[in-house]
C-alpha cells in the first residue's frame, strides 16, 4: 500500500543507525529526531500553503472569468515561489515611529502560533507527531494565540488603521472563539475523548461521520472558523477598502509574507479541524483500508479550503455591529441548543450502552 508510515519508519531507523554508528549518544539522537520532525512538519505545511496561495489565485480568477497566473511553470504553478523570493529580496521598511520590539515580534508570534497546531494533527494512518490526550483543546488554545500577534501588529505599527484592525481582530476572534469551542463540544460529548487520533478512528466509514449526528454543530463551527481565520465575509481586521490593509499596513517584505502565509495556514487549520472532527479525518468513507489514508485526508481538506475560497469570492463583508451581534445573538444560543440536543440524544439513544 501507499501508506507513508512504513517509509518514514524505515528512513528514521536508517538515520538512527547512521548516527549511532558515528558514536553519538542516545539523547542527542532524540534531540535530532525532534528537530527533524519539526523541520519536516514545517516543510510539509509550508509546501501545502504555497500550493494554496496559487490555488486561491486560480479559483478567484476562474470565478471572475480570468486566467490567473499563467507564466511561471505549468499554469503558473510555481508563481508563489517566485513571489516569495521577490518578497524575501525586498527592502524591509520599518517606519520611524513604531514600537520596535512589538512591531518586530508580531509576525513571528502569528507565524509560529499558526504552525504549532500541526503537532497533534493526524495526517494519515500513524502520521501524527504526538496524539495529545487534550488535542482538541490544544488546537483551540493555540489558534487563539494569533489574536495576540495581530494586536501586537496593530499596536506596534503606531498607525490608526493598524490599531483599528488589531482591535477588530481581537474583538472578533475572542467573540467567535466561544461558539466555536461550544460547537466542538458536541463532538467531544459523543466521542468521549479529546484526542484527535481516537476521534478519527471512531469514524471509520461514511455513516459514522460525526457530521450526520452534529449537523448544527458543524454549521456553527464552520461559520465561527471562517471568522477565526479572518476570512471574508469576516475579514474586517484587514478590510482593505475601509482600513487600508488593517494590521498589515506598516509591514513589508518578509514580515508581510509571514502574515500572509500565517493567514493561509490558519485557513488550512480550520479545514483540517472540520475534516478531522466531522468528516472522518484520514479514514476513507468506504471502510478503514480503502486507498492511502493521507490522500483521503488531503482530498477532504482541500475541498474545505476550496469552500473557504468560494466564500471569499462570492460573499460581501459584514458590518462590525452585525459581526458581533451575529456571534453573540445567533451563534451562541444555537451552540447552547446544540449541546442540549446532543445531551438529550446521548441520554435517549446511547444510554443503553
Amino acid at each position: 500500500m501507499l501508506e507513508l508510515r512504513g517509509i518514514i519508519d524505515a528512513i528514521w531507523s536508517f538515520i538512527v543507525g547512521l548516527l549511532a554508528g558515528l558514536g553519538i549518544p542516545q539523547w542527542a539522537i532524540e534531540l535530532v529526531g525532534y528537530a527533524l520532525i519539526a523541520v519536516v512538519m514545517f516543510g510539509v505545511v509550508a509546501v501545502i500553503v504555497l500550493f494554496l496561495v496559487w490555488w486561491e489565485r486560480k479559483v478567484s480568477a476562474k470565478m471572475q472569468d480570468r486566467l490567473g497566473p499563467m507564466r511561471v511553470g505549468w499554469h503558473g504553478i510555481i508563481q508563489t515561489i517566485a513571489d516569495a523570493i521577490k518578497l524575501l529580496q525586498k527592502e524591509d521598511i520599518t517606519p520611524k515611529a513604531i514600537d520596535f520590539p512589538i512591531h518586530f515580534w508580531a509576525p513571528v508570534v502569528t507565524f509560529v502560533a499558526a504552525f504549532m497546531v500541526y503537532v497533534t494533527v493526524p495526517f494519515g494512518k500513524g502520521l501524527i507527531v504526538s496524539d495529545l490526550s487534550v488535542g482538541v483543546l490544544y488546537i483551540i488554545a493555540i489558534t487563539t494565540f494569533t489574536v495576540i500577534g495581530l494586536l501586537m501588529a496593530g499596536w506596534g505599527s503606531n498607525n490608526k488603521y493598524s490599531l483599528l484592525g488589531g482591535f477588530r481582530s481581537a474583538a472578533q476572534v475572542v467573540s467567535y472563539e466561544v461558539p466555536l469551542s461550544l460547537a466542538l463540544l458536541g463532538v467531544i460529548m459523543i466521542s468521549q475523548t479529546l484526542s484527535l487520533g481516537t476521534i478519527v478512528t471512531q469514524q471509520d466509514n461514511l455513516l459514522k461521520w460525526y457530521v450526520w449526528r452534529q449537523p448544527l454543530g458543524f454549521l456553527i463551527f464552520w461559520i465561527a472558523a471562517t471568522a477565526e481565520c479572518n476570512r471574508t465575509p469576516f475579514d474586517l481586521p484587514e478590510a482593505d477598502s475601509e482600513l487600508v490593509a488593517g494590521f498589515v499596513t506598516e509591514y513589508s517584505g518578509m514580515k508581510f509574507a509571514m502574515f500572509f502565509l500565517a493567514e493561509f495556514v490558519n485557513m488550512f487549520t480550520a479545514s483540517v479541524v472540520a475534516v478531522t472532527l466531522f468528516f472522518g479525518g484520514w479514514m476513507s468513507p468506504f471502510g478503514p483500508d480503502f486507498g492511502p489514508s493521507w490522500m483521503w485526508f488531503l482530498g477532504k481538506t482541500m475541498f474545505f479550503v476550496f469552500v473557504l475560497m468560494w466564500f471569499r469570492w462570492t460573499y460581501p463583508r459584514l458590518r462590525v455591529d452585525q459581526l458581533m451581534g451575529f456571534a453573540w445573538k445567533v451563534l451562541l444560543p444555537l451552540a447552547f441548543l446544540n449541546i442540549l440536543l446532543t445531551g438529550l440524544g446521548i441520554y435517549l439513544f446511547d444510554g443503553l450502552k
Binding site: W27, D99, S133, L137, A141, F145, V147, I148, E177, S181
Partner: protein, 166 residues
C-alpha cells in the same frame, strides 16, 4: 541519567522564562509591553504544567488567559493616557519599602522551603489526567463545579451592570 538532565534543563529554562517574564511584566514602563511579557510568562507557566503532567490544565491556561490578556491589552490601550510615554512615572512612591518587604518575604519563603522534607508519594502520575479530571469534576467535585458556574454567571451579570452607561 540523561533523562534527568534533560528534565532539569527544561525546568531551568522554563523557570528562567517565567521569572524574567514576571519581572519585566511588573517593571516595564509601557503597559503594552507588560501585557506581552505577561502572555510570555503565562505561556511558560503552561509549559511548566506540561512538565508536571497536567496537560488539560496547560491547555486551559493558554485558552483562558490568552483571551483575558488580549482584553487587558485593549483596556490598557483604551484607558491609559500617554501609554508609551517613558517619562511618565509608572511606580508610586512606596517602591523602595515594597522592595524591602518583598525581599524579606522572599528570604522567608526560601528559608522555609529550602530543604523542608515533604512526604513525596512514589505513586506514578496517571498518564491520561484529562479523563480522570473530567470524571472527578462530574462526581466528587460536582458541587464546587456548579458553584463556580454560578459565580461565572454572577460575574458576567455584575460586569454588565457595573460597566453599563446609564
Amino acid at each position: 541519567m540523561t533523562e534527568i538532565s534533560l528534565t532539569n534543563l527544561t525546568f531551568y529554562i522554563l523557570s528562567f522564562c517565567i521569572i524574567a517574564g514576571g519581572i519585566f511584566t511588573v517593571s516595564s514602563r509601557n503597559l503594552f509591553h507588560s501585557a506581552v511579557f505577561l502572555v510570555f510568562t503565562l505561556f511558560s507557566v503552561a509549559g511548566m504544567f506540561v512538565m508536571l503532567n497536567a496537560y488539560l490544565l496547560a491547555a486551559i491556561q493558554v485558552l483562558i488567559y490568552v483571551g483575558a490578556v488580549a482584553m487587558l491589552m485593549i483596556f490598557g490601550v483604551m484607558l491609559t493616557t500617554r501609554l508609551a510615554d517613558v517619562r511618565l512615572r509608572h511606580v508610586n512612591e512606596q517602591s523602595w519599602p515594597a522592595l524591602a518587604i518583598c525581599g524579606f518575604f522572599l528570604a522567608f519563603l526560601v528559608y522555609g522551603l529550602w530543604d523542608t522534607p515533604f512526604t513525596v508519594s512514589g505513586v506514578p502520575m496517571p498518564a491520561d489526567t484529562a479523563h480522570a479530571l473530567g470524571t472527578l469534576l462530574m462526581t466528587k467535585y460536582v458541587l464546587p463545579f456548579e458553584v463556580v458556574s454560578l459565580l461565572l454567571l454572577a460575574a458576567l451579570v455584575g460586569a454588565v451592570v457595573i460597566a453599563k452607561k446609564d
